[in-house]
């Protein structure tokens, strides 16, 4: 199609383009201002861990540290006084083992619900999913007494048992939705060739579900790592305490020890989730998307 270029109002187009450009520069500055506001607490955290207690109280809170030497002292004191090594080991154990078991059990249940011919298919699912409906407050008192009676209070096994159970329902929802979208042709073909349901599950369904399983594993691991409440109720001992509980105790009982050291402890406790987020951001965002649906 041919058209006469002189019919175009080039000045108007240029004006519009310029306005657009100016608008986006303004927007960029607004965005930077907003991000700065959001980042100030992080900056405060990042510089505080490089200050000695004396320097922290002497200098303005946003002033750059005089050197990086006090960092090592802060870390060792936070680590030792807060017993963070033990707590990190505990949380790593609860998080990896608990979330793995929970996701695996959820995958098994989702397989039965989507692939096997059973009555009340939806009823079984609702029974498992009911575990997400109630607020945590309803579990606290009964679990405390039940654990006391069974001798599970303040034991690693008791903590693991609870963390595994609480992490089962949500992955069951996600994996059920995913598996019901998986094509049935492959597993029907395998069944024709004489594969039993266990073979179908382990050889066909599981390998095809690794993506969503990783995503929900990360979500559940982070949940366990970040949990403070259930550790204070069910495992409030030095040997069984979770990392966030240890941080809480450290902040409460050693508040005289200096903000720089408690802040260092807070950063140490958060490092694993920060590192995981940046390494596996794609999986996290995928996890958010499944959380939404």
């Amino acid at each position: 199609m041919a058209f006469d270029i002189s019919t175009l109002d080039l000045d108007a187009i240029e004006r519009r383009e310029a306005a657009k450009h100016k608008g986006s520069t303004l927007k960029l500055f607004a965005a930077i201002g907003f991000a700065l506001l959001w980042i100030v607490p992080f900056y405060f955290l990042a510089i505080s861990i490089f200050k000695s207690s004396n320097e922290y109280s002497r200098n303005p809170p946003l002033a750059l540290p005089e050197g990086i030497a006090p960092l090592w002292d802060n870390v060792t004191r936070a680590w030792e006084l807060g017993s963070m090594g033990q707590a990190m080991m505990n949380s790593a154990f609860y998080g990896t083992v608990g979330a793995s078991l929970a996701v695996f059990f959820a995958a098994m249940a989702a397989f039965a619900i989507t692939r096997l011919d059973i009555p009340f298919r939806n009823g079984w699912f609702m029974l498992i999913f009911a575990g997400t409906v109630f607020p945590f407050q309803m579990y606290l008192i009964p679990l405390f007494f039940g654990y006391q009676k069974l001798g599970l209070l303040n034991s690693h096994m008791g903590m693991l048992l609870f963390y595994t159970a609480i992490c089962v329902p949500f992955p069951t929802l996600v994996l059920r939705n995913f598996m019901s979208g998986l094509s049935r042709e492959m597993d029907e073909a395998a069944r024709m060739d004489g594969a039993n349901e266990f073979t179908v599950f382990f050889r066909i369904i599981l390998p095809n579900t690794i993506g969503p399983m990783t995503a929900v594993f990360l979500l559940q691991f982070t949940w366990i790592w970040n949990d403070m409440l259930f550790s204070t109720v069910l495992g409030n001992r030095l040997e069984t305490r979770s990392i966030m509980n240890a941080l809480l105790v450290f902040q409460g009982s050693y508040s005289s020890i200096g903000p720089n050291i408690v802040l260092t402890a807070a950063l140490l406790a958060s490092l694993p989730s920060i590192v995981l987020f940046f390494l596996l951001r794609r999986h996290f965002m995928q996890g958010l998307q499944v959380q939404q649906s």
Binding site: L28, A35, A112, P135, Q137, Q292
Partner: protein, 316 residues
């Protein structure tokens, strides 16, 4: 022989009853197998989560005695005690404030930022910065902000620098400022998630109606008000419900920043329940408060299901 006739011949040969029996037998066989697959999940959820919930409900109708333990039926006595308890009333009011604030501020901010960052070049970095607080544990966030709000903390010293005078407001120690201060921390932590969820919702909105409206001369506000907002409703509904539940059951931030000091402080219902049960030993009363929290959560979830169904029908 055509298909129908073939099927009929098969039916005549083995009989419809036999086919039904076979199908039933197959189902039973698969049910056993399914139970094997479902049993770990079922046992864990029922044993560790659902049975305790029932036990909690039962406990809330009993009386707790110091040496004999529970067991004595008390009817609604624990529930009737609630309205007369000044700490409970205070907790109730604070929880209402929390629910309102955790809906209004994160969603207003999140929606504003989502609209703002949607078409901005290089917005990825900004989005990540706003989102990062969300990946930290509430406990760690609480510790960080505890020192922001401390009498000699970041906020007071910042205000002192601006005003030129010494400022020593005990943000977390006075009843008037403690709830707004912790709500600000909550907004800092959660607005990023709300923004990301709304951005996902915005990305799913088709471009055609917006372009059509643009050509018809609609201005940006009209497009937002009459096209984007209605199409964003399902996402907004989900985010609202998530926010209501988060605000209603908030605990970690409050415990770290405001409750973890001598004496009782009714910052919200979840804190009140924990304090009554685990620090005062009023187990039966505490479990009744937990039941109230559970009832409200169930109601909110039910409302969500109803509204979700209505929205689904509207958009279909």
């Amino acid at each position: 022989m055509d298909r129908a006739a073939k099927d009929k011949a098969l039916l005549d040969r083995i009989g419809i009853d036999q086919i039904a029996r076979n199908a039933r037998a197959r189902r039973r066989g698969q049910l056993g197998l399914a139970l094997v697959f479902m049993s770990p999940a079922l046992i864990l959820v029922v044993g560790v989560l659902l049975v305790p919930v029932l036990f909690n409900i039962w406990l809330s109708f009993t009386k707790w005695k110091k040496f004999t333990g529970f067991g004595e039926y008390a009817g609604f006595a624990n529930y009737e005690r609630m309205p007369g308890n000044p700490f409970f009333n205070e907790a109730l009011i604070n929880t209402a404030i929390w629910v309102g604030a955790s809906v209004v501020f994160p969603i207003a901010l999140g929606l504003g930022m989502a609209m703002f960052f949607r078409n901005l070049r290089g917005a990825e970095t900004f989005k990540n910065i706003i989102f990062i607080p969300r990946i930290l544990a509430p406990t760690a966030v609480g510790v960080l902000w505890f020192y922001v709000y401390a009498p000699d903390g970041l906020l007071n010293r910042g205000l002192g620098l601006v005003s030129g005078r010494d400022v020593d407001i005990g943000w977390l120690y006075s009843d008037a400022t403690v709830t707004p201060a912790i709500i600000a921390t909550f907004v800092w932590q959660t607005a990023g998630l709300v923004m990301v969820l709304l951005l996902l919702g915005l990305a799913a909105i088709p471009k055609d109606p917006i372009e059509a409206a643009h050509i018809d001369g609609a201005n940006r506000w009209q497009i937002f008000r009459y096209i984007t907002l209605p199409l964003l409703m399902p996402t907004l509904l989900m985010v609202t419900i998530l926010s209501v539940l988060a605000g209603f059951t908030v605990f970690d931030l409050l415990w770290v920043m405001g409750a973890n000091y001598p004496g009782q402080r009714s910052l919200a219902l979840a804190v009140f329940m924990y304090f009554e049960a685990f620090q005062k030993g009023s187990w039966a009363f505490g479990s009744a408060v937990a039941v109230i929290i559970g009832l409200v959560v169930l109601c909110v979830t039910w409302v969500q299901t109803v509204l979700q169904g209505r929205v689904d029908r509207m958009t279909r």
